[in-house]
Structures are given as C-alpha cells and as structure tokens.
C-alpha cells in the first residue's frame, strides 16, 4: 500500500475519460452536446484523450439559439475544422418557424427556454440514445442530486424521485426505446477545477471569456452585452466597459462581469477571490429558488 494518490486534476480527468468510454461502450448512438462554453470545450479535450488516435464515437451537437455571441460560433467552427469530427446543428429558429416554439415577447424575452424544444427535436430526429453534457454538480442545488447517467423519459423529463442508484463507478445505461440518457462526465468538477484544467492543458477558449471592451447596458441589476436581440429602448443606456463573461449562453440571458482579467491566471485569481457564484451571473436561475429543478424536469440540460 502506498499513500500517494493521484493529483486532483489527474483524478478528475481520469474519471471523466472513464465515463466517456462507458458512453462509447454502452450506447448505440450517443452525441456530445456542445455549447461553445468552457465546460463543453473541456469535454472535447477529454474526448480526444479518451479516443485518439481513433475518431470520436459520437458527433458534436450544437443547439443554436441564433442569439449566440459571434465569437462563440467562430470558435465552434474553427474547432470542428481542427478536430475533423462531425457537427450537427439544431436551430431554435427552425423550431419557431415550424410553430413548435413561440418566441417570447417583451423586453426581457430570451430564447433560452426554447432551446429545450429544439434539443428534444434534434434528439428524436437523429435517434440519440445518450447525450453527453458539461453540467457540473457544484453549479446549483438541483444539479447536486443528479446522477452521472441521468435517464430521461421520451419527453425528456427528469424525475428526481426515480433516479437509479449509482454505485461505485458502475453506470447503468440500460434504457427502453424512446428514452435517452444525459451523461455528465464532469459532474464532480468545480468551476475552479475547470479553469485550472484549461490552464494546465493550455486549451484555447472563445475570446469573450477574457476581459475586453464592450458596449453594455444594465438590466435588472445585471450587466448585459448590448445586442439587437435584447429589444433595447431609450431606457437602456449604453456604457462602454471592460468586461468578461463567466458562462457562454444566449446573449439575452448571459450577464457580464466587470473585469480586468486578460489572462487565464488573472481569471483564476479572480474566481478564487470571487464572492459570487457562476450561475449567479445567469438570469435564468434568478426567477425562483427552484428554477433549475423545474427546467430540468421539463427536459433542460
């Protein structure tokens, strides 16, 4: 017996690779949900470790709200070109055009909730039986209880009371036709772990994660990037600020933080000292304390 165990980043990495390989081994038609955010970028890096020099045993799937930061889309396309892997894009605009989703009205309208419709449609259309996502348990209380292999019924619903027990590292991916499994390989990582890993592995990120000058407006106490999708009016005063984004979601619901963190080391220092958690900068969670749980039950990531 030795007392020396793996360093925490090595252990988290090894666990995530193990989970990705379980997905490859257990499912017929898996997919990796790619948002362009740092968590799914980390997943891509882990997939390279798990399967290279072979091809990924799954395509990347991006649910595009049409309201993304242009920097994210550029990053996505460059990355896919470098990897030589398949990318499938599900467009929220298509769901709206087909009448399956209705665009929200009013000043704070967002397509964030509509993503679920497009996601479920894309899953059904391609017959995916497993969708790998970058959610982490430290993000939110409801996520803290979700399994690494999380079974969804044919409506994409998560039932917290009917979760399968997950023992040791044995993941049960057996499902009935029509059901699918959401798999979260970095469940046990924290925001800081992800950043430390990105630094260690020298992974490139979309530029919006780093401090830059941008036109911003203030909505509901949060700093938002000024963009045409935000339904701006004369009450919205545009200010030029040094900002960065801690998550990369839809432009309508992703708030900026004022920051001078131009380098990854600056970001890690900033987060270490930060007094606001990552999802605190997401307006979609602010609605009620049980907001995430309700969204997950409805089929959200």
């Amino acid at each position: 017996m030795s007392k020396q165990s793996l360093d925490y980043l090595d252990e988290l990495e090894a666990e995530a690779i193990y989970i990705l390989r379980e997905v490859a081994g257990q499912f017929e038609k898996p997919a990796l949900l790619f948002s362009g955010g740092k968590d799914s970028i980390t997943l891509v890096r882990l997939a390279e470790k798990a399967f290279r020099p072979g091809k990924f045993p799954f395509p990347l799937v991006h649910i595009d709200t049409g309201h993304n930061f242009p920097e994210t889309i550029q990053y996505r396309d460059d990355m896919v070109a470098r990897l030589g892997e398949k990318l499938i894009i599900g467009h929220v605009q298509d769901s709206i055009d087909q009448g399956k989703a209705i665009e929200q009205k009013g000043k704070n309208a967002s397509r964030n909730a509509l993503q679920t419709v497009t996601l479920l449609d894309t899953i059904a259309q391609h017959g995916f039986d497993a969708c790998i996502g970058g959610a982490r348990r430290d993000e939110e209380k409801a996520r803290a209880k979700e399994r690494i292999f999380s079974v969804r019924d044919e409506f994409g619903q998560w039932d917290p009371k009917r979760q399968r027990p997950e023992l040791w590292n044995l993941y049960n991916g057996k499902i009935h036709k029509g059901e699918n499994v959401r798999v979260f390989p970095i469940s046990n990582w924290t925001e800081l772990d992800v950043w430390n890993y990105i630094r260690r592995e020298n992974i490139a990120l979309p530029s919006i994660y780093f401090a830059h000058e941008r036109d911003c407006i203030t909505r509901n106490g949060q700093l938002m990037a000024a963009a045409e999708f935000l339904n701006m009016d004369e009450e919205d005063v545009i200010n030029r600020k040094n900002v960065r984004f801690r998550t990369v979601g839809d432009m309508t619901c992703t708030a900026a933080v004022e920051s001078d963190a131009f380098l990854i080391d600056d970001i890690i220092n900033e987060i270490s000292a930060s007094k606001i958690s990552e999802r605190g900068a997401r307006m979609d969670d602010k609605v009620s304390e049980a907001a995430m749980e309700d969204r997950k039950k409805g089929g959200y990531f």
Binding site: M1, R21, F51, P53, G54, K145, K161, W168
Partner: protein, 416 residues
C-alpha cells in the same frame, strides 16, 4: 492536492445538514449569492440565526417535507485538500441512498446525538459502513452544547461505540465532540471543551491518510473500449482503453486476459500525447500488447503473476434497492466492471437484521433488505473479494424488465 470523498450519516434530528452547512460556512465555502439566497429564506433557528441546513436541502419536495430524501453531492476545498461530500439521508426507508453514497466514499462521518448516545440508526449506519468496507470512520458526537460540554458524556458514548466498532470490525475510528449549531470543533477548536486535545473535524479531514493500492499483484484493468483508427497510416494500431481499477502496470509486464486466459506482454501505455512506463490505480490509459489476442469490452487485463478468481457461482452480500421484491425465478443482469451478463439469485442464505446485527431467515427480499445470497451467472466473472479489493469486488443487479438498478452486490467468495 488530493481529493477526499466522504459520506455523512445520521438520524433525522442529529443535525447532519447543520453539520455540513457549518463545515461549508466556517471554511468560507459559501459564495455571496448563495448566502443571499440563504438569508432570503424564512427558515431560521430559534435564536434568529441562519439555518445552515438549507445549504444542503436541494429539491423542492424536500424543502416542503423538511427532510433530505436523496443523495446530494457538495464540493468544497481548503488549501490542503478538495472534498466531495455525499450527503445521504438518515431516514429509515432510505438505506439504499446511504449504500450508494458510501460506495463512492473513502471516509464516513457518523453523527451521534450526545443526549441519546448510540441508537438503532447508529447501529444501522455503522453496519452499512462496515458492509461497504470504508477505510476511515469519524464519529462526531454532536449537540455537546446541550449536555453542558461534559467530558463524561463524551467518554461514555465513545465506550459505547467502541463495543459496536469491535463487533463490526471497523478499523480506524476517530471520535470528535462537536456542536454543529454553535460551531465547536467543526472548523475551529472549541473553547468550551478544553478537555479535548484532538483535531477539529476539518483538520482531521485535511490530514487523514487515504490508502491507495498500487501493488502490481493487484493490477486490474477492465477493458472499456478498443481504439482502432483503421486509417492508412495507423492500419495496425490497436489500443485497449480502460481505467486501472487497482494496482499498477508497467511496460514489459506479463499480463493475462480474463476470463479467456490468453497472455501477452505490455508494449506501451499511453494517453493522447503522453506515454508512461508505469500507470497506477485510478489512471485512465490506453495499453498496447505484444500479441494480437482476442480482447474486447467486458474482459479484464491482470498481472499474470496474481489472478483474481474466475467463477460462475458466487456468494455475495446483496443490498436490495427496488420496490419490487427479489424474484429468485427471474433472470437479472449483473454488471461487474465493463462486463454485463445474465444471472439468477440461486439461493438466499440469510438476511441481516441491521438494527440488531442478527441473522434472520426469511424467504422474501424487500427494498432496503441486506443479506447473503448465492448468485449464478451465465458468463464467468473475474473478481476479487470485495473486502480485499472494492474496485473489483462490487457489482450491480439490473432488472431487465424495467432496466432499473435493483441491487448492490459485494462479492465475498466463489461458491463453485
């Protein structure tokens, strides 16, 4: 920096959620917006202070019922270690959640109410910790503020528990007198119990040793996936991908594939752009062998010098986790490492009364029942005894009608 995974177990009113809340709060692991949500909540202690238990009560249904109903994972870190807490409920019908949480932990915190001492649930939780072979146990005697911080109360309970630990063969037990509500000995030392010279709970968690088995004798690599690019330039590339579950492998080691029994030599251990001369338990790797032998998902690669057992008839402890009772006439699936095969529970030897630790002889096996059975499998399993090697001695049962995980198995002996 290492990761320590631990589970907390206690009865409904032992103040378990408060203890975790206190650990997070006093180690400054709560962020401003979470604290703000906490203060907005209208749940307060009698003296008007924040109810720290809210920090771990995740789901709506629980908040309504006021009890934790499922395993929740919490994360925090100090300068010395990263911690993952599996918060398992203490309520009687949720044995399965504690077994689940314990299976992924290397330390258990058992909470005892200083006013009550060792009670039925303490026995139950300690039995589960022993069943799952957790290497470290911390007994927190809580609510010391309610017994005037009396040393005699503490030592009486320690003596009570020592008798139980002996009976259950629990090794490495540490006792700490605490008050989660007031913060004594959780993160900071207590000024109310100067008679206690040991470490605070957090200090103990930061320094306790986590043993890792890296001997080559226990080298086990369950194969998950075969990497075969089949491109022109990598035409003959064949890498066997998996995570080493115990022991260590070196390049040039003689290895055997089980259950087939074919042998070969390791020529390369790699992962993406890195190559290793040696890899140890916990590492995910891709290995290459000198010979082109039949090896695929479900097989296990072991050091040729020391084999695990290979058997189709195995004695095991079973924890039943489903509302449907165990049906001995039914074919189930057993998942052991990356191997899934059909099986039947051939015989129920006995069950445990987990409150008294007595053996009982009953025909039915219900939700939360634990007992000793004999299982017969369609394909042979290459396994170690759970008590010797948790990673290669645990398995799950799946009901092929519902696809639900219905049982946890701790493999104890070959019954062939």
């Amino acid at each position: 920096m290492e990761i320590l995974k631990f589970i907390t177990a206690g009865s409904v009113d032992d103040g378990k959620s408060t203890l975790i809340g206190r650990l997070l709060y006093d180690s400054e692991s709560i962020l401003a917006d979470q604290l703000e949500a906490l203060q907005r909540s209208n749940r307060k202690n009698d003296d008007g202070t924040i109810d720290l238990a809210i920090l771990t009560d995740g789901l709506k249904a629980e908040r309504e019922q006021g009890i934790t109903i499922d395993v929740a994972y919490k994360y925090f870190q100090t300068d010395k270690r990263k911690f993952i807490i599996a918060d398992a409920p203490g309520h009687i019908q949720y044995t399965r959640n504690m077994v689940t949480g314990a299976s992924n932990s290397n330390l258990a915190i058992i909470l005892i109410d200083a006013r009550k001492g060792v009670v039925e649930q303490t026995i139950r939780h300690s039995f589960l910790v022993s069943l799952l072979s957790l290497p470290q146990v911390v007994v927190c005697i809580n609510k010391m503020d309610m017994v005037d911080y009396a040393e005699t109360t503490f030592t009486q309970i320690v003596d009570q528990y020592k008798a139980l630990a002996l009976k259950l063969n629990l090794q490495n037990v540490t006792y700490i007198p605490v008050s989660a509500l007031k913060g004594d000995n959780i993160v900071h030392e207590s000024y109310n119990m100067t008679w206690y010279n040991g470490k605070s709970l957090l200090e103990h968690l930061e320094t306790v040793e986590i043993p890792v088995d890296d001997s080559s004798a226990h080298a086990r690599l369950p194969i998950q996936w075969v990497v075969r690019p089949q491109t022109e330039e990598l035409h003959d590339y064949r890498g066997y991908a998996g995570r080493i579950s115990s022991g260590s492998f070196k390049v040039n080691d003689q290895v055997t594939v089980l259950p087939s029994g074919f042998s070969s030599t390791i020529t390369k251990i790699e992962l993406l752009d890195k190559q290793y001369t040696e890899a140890v338990a916990g590492q995910s790797v891709t290995v290459h062998l000198a010979d082109n032998i039949d090896l695929s998902r479900g097989d296990i690669l072991v050091n040729s010098a020391a084999h695990p057992q290979v058997s189709q008839q195995i004695e095991a402890d079973l924890c039943w986790m489903d509302t449907r009772v165990l049906d001995t006439s039914l074919t189930y699936l057993i998942q052991h490492n990356s191997k899934v095969t059909r099986c039947r529970v051939q015989e129920i030897l006995y069950k445990f009364n987990i409150n008294t630790l007595d053996k009982v002889y009953e025909e039915d096996f219900k939700l939360n029942d634990i007992g000793r059975i004999i299982i017969k499998t369609a394909d042979p399993l290459a396994f170690d005894l759970y008590q010797d090697n948790k990673a290669n001695g645990g398995a799950i049962l799946i009901d092929s009608r519902t696809n639900v995980t219905v049982g946890a198995l701790m493999l104890r002996a070959s019954a062939e």
